[in-house]
């Protein structure tokens, strides 16, 4: 237990903050502490968690990706059109098309980064502009509402009537999210590839000399994020029941903030799926709690921004004060 606390300092402190916030909200609002609200939170956060675990893999491998959210938008459009061509399709064909389109877009980033030695932030900022510019150019900003029924029908996997008459339900996004989280967890903690990703992110040159195929690492990391972006994009369509070309624009920075809040290091080699999920949940819970407390939705972002700013200030100074010798190396600048 003690060693878990030591090795998972970020996750433990995040969990403590989440518990503290939840306790305050349970006392101060009538609806927070209920199974129904917890399930609502999961349903709402699913897409962001799917994006977040994908981005986590790239961050662990020492890269950064700005383009995944607009890539997901491109996937949404592409999948909607491809489904029209094949005359409807179903969940399996939908996920296959969205997943492979996502992998393709991720591979373009990996190709630029590996083949031409472009730094990942530069490469993904350029693909961000290319993907978004071309998407808006070809779609002229027009949304698609004419989607197959199977895609827009709500799939309720579990429902249960509570004693007070309200229904609690788990929907398809949650199942897909759990699947993506478990798959990512297996990839980065239970496979050799996962260890190689951490090693590569921590020290690319060392990893290369050790015989790790760095080209493969880039393809796996950005391909995995592409896959998650594709799946997340499709689930977002299912949830929103429409394809809006700029709906996900700007989402990349929110997800990035959540993932880094969850302990992933910009610079590579560090981060866990658990922390990443907690990071997204902390932001969702705060938002949900503010909503239940009747705070104006216009103030949400302000409060969340302030919380992240305070959290990073406290967490970084805390480590520095506790372990002065660590601060020599520090986590970046």
């Amino acid at each position: 237990m003690r060693s878990f606390v030591r090795t998972h300092a970020t996750e433990v402190s995040l969990l403590a903050v989440i518990i503290a916030i939840s306790a305050v909200l349970s006392v101060s609002t009538a609806n927070f502490f209920s199974l129904g609200n917890a399930f609502d939170l999961l349903n709402i956060s699913s897409v962001n968690i799917i994006f977040a675990v994908g981005l986590l893999v790239v961050l662990i491998a020492g890269g950064i990706d700005i383009s995944f959210a607009v890539a997901a938008s491109v996937v949404q459009y592409g999948t909607a059109i491809a489904l029209g061509w094949i005359g409807g399709g179903g969940w399996i064909s939908g996920l296959l098309i969205a997943g492979s389109l996502g992998i393709l877009l991720g591979a373009i980033n990996a190709f630029l980064i590996h083949r031409f030695r472009v730094i990942s932030i530069v490469a993904t900022i350029s693909t961000f502009n290319i993907y978004f510019g071309l998407l808006m150019f070809f779609t002229k900003g027009v949304s698609i509402y004419d989607l197959p029924d199977w895609l827009t029908d709500r799939v309720i996997l579990f429902e249960h009537e509570m004693p007070d008459g309200t229904w609690i339900e788990i929907t398809l996004p949650v199942l897909v999210m759990v699947f993506c989280v478990v798959a990512t967890w297996v990839l980065i903690t239970r496979t050799t590839t996962g260890r190689q990703l951490y090693a590569f992110g921590d020290n690319p040159e060392g990893a290369r000399r050790f015989g790790i195929n760095i080209g493969a690492m880039q393809i796996i990391a950005f391909g995995w994020l592409g896959l998650m972006a594709g799946i997340g994009g499709l689930i977002q369509v299912h949830y929103a029941q429409e394809v809006v070309p700029n709906a996900l624009y700007g989402r990349e920075l929110d997800v990035l903030a959540a993932v880094v809040l969850g302990g992933a290091r910009l610079g590579g080699g560090k981060g866990s799926v658990f922390g990443c999920v907690l990071g997204v949940l902390l932001i969702s819970i705060t938002q949900n709690g503010l909503n239940l407390m009747g705070v104006s939705p216009f103030a949400f972002k302000m409060i969340i921004g302030a919380i992240i700013l305070i959290a990073i200030t406290l967490s970084n100074t805390g480590i520095e004060k506790l372990l002065p010798f660590v601060s020599q190396k520090g986590a970046g600048r």
Binding site: I119, G133, A257
Partner: protein
């Protein structure tokens, strides 16, 4: 002869190669493709569009040179714009005098610098990653702006502000004059002052800089404060151009400013990069946009082409270095 070439090379600098070539290519391609391209009208429209993006790019440049990033620039600009807007409204709105404008501008610059100072302090003292710090500041400022304006526009400004956004002075647009003055100020700051020198070496090697006795924390705080102040100037110009303030104004510029810096040869890890190549890169981006507009494409295609241009320059740079390495190997 080769001595002259060397002199010219050192004068222009290696960072100039990418944007310089891109400039020539854009002028050539569009000059051939469209007869109207090489006209006063094109350069006039570029001159009016350049300053908004350009001032924000200057704000992005300094943090990147220190190895950081300031993702809060557009929202800092709009919060500063809001500050000016309220000072004007509190002093009679449309009837506000120049005094109110000067006071409002001073406060706006102060607000911009303050947001920079907070970011700088957190980055310098906690060693948190600048991307994360400026990202949370961005989320905070966007939220603050949405909270204060309820997501709407603030407008109704005195008429004398119009020329600041649309007017010309002996044929040169006033926003462009402001921008060029800022470019020159940044150039002098980076090439002639102690802070400029410190900015570069902090970006090259923070620890070594600290051991050499330079107060790196002070440098970082000052750099972000100046970045915030430059955002405020951009905010004031945007207020005058749009005749309104809205928290979402210029949101799409954020990543384009980073693109412009990288296109201008600035090293993403900090330490290297100059103002003038970035300025040329900005002109290239705007010329591309105008040129595409002339041949009937829209702004979104221009965005895609800007991305392609950045990727293309990076690929060319890779090919060039590879060629140079093989060339050297053959010689030895």
């Amino acid at each position: 002869m080769s001595a002259i070439v060397e002199r010219v090379k050192t004068l222009i600098g290696p960072e100039m190669a990418g944007p310089g070539l891109a400039f020539l290519a854009v002028v050539l391609v569009f000059g051939i493709a469209s007869p109207q391209f090489l006209s006063a009208a094109t350069f006039g429209s570029v001159a009016f569009q350049l300053p908004e993006l350009g001032l924000l790019t200057l704000a992005m440049l300094l943090p990147i040179l220190t190895g950081g990033l300031n993702l809060a620039i557009t929202f800092t600009a709009n919060i500063a714009g809001l500050t000016l807007a309220w000072v004007l409204q509190a002093n009679g709105g449309v009837d506000a005098g120049p005094g109110a404008f000067l006071l409002g501008s001073a406060l706006a610059i102060l607000v911009g610098a303050a947001s920079g100072v907070i970011m700088g302090l957190v980055i310098a003292f906690t060693r948190a990653h600048p991307i994360l710090v400026s990202l949370s500041m961005m989320i905070f400022l966007r939220g603050l702006g949405e909270f204060l304006t309820r997501g709407g526009d603030v407008s109704g400004f005195p008429a004398f502000l119009g020329p600041l956004g649309h007017g010309s002075f002996i044929g040169v647009p006033i926003p462009l004059i402001v921008f060029i003055v800022c470019v020159l100020a940044w150039n002098v700051l980076l090439t002639r002052t102690k802070l400029g020198f410190s900015t570069y070496i902090v970006g090259s090697n923070l620890e070594a800089t600290r051991y050499s006795g330079i107060n790196t924390r002070k440098v970082i705080v000052l750099v972000y404060a100046l970045s915030g102040a430059m955002c405020a100037i951009a905010g004031i110009i945007m207020l005058a151009r749009f005749n309104s303030v809205r928290i979402g104004h210029g949101e799409s510029y954020l990543l384009i400013t980073v693109l412009a810096c990288f296109l201008g040869g600035v090293n993403p890890f900090g330490g290297f990069g100059r103002v003038i190549p970035v300025f040329v890169a900005l002109v290239v981006l705007q010329l591309l946009s105008s040129g595409l507009n002339l041949i009937g494409a829209n702004q979104h295609l221009a965005t895609a082409v800007w991305g392609l241009l950045l990727a293309g320059v990076m690929v060319l740079r890779f090919v060039a270095t590879k060629f140079k390495i093989s060339f050297v190997r053959k010689e030895t």
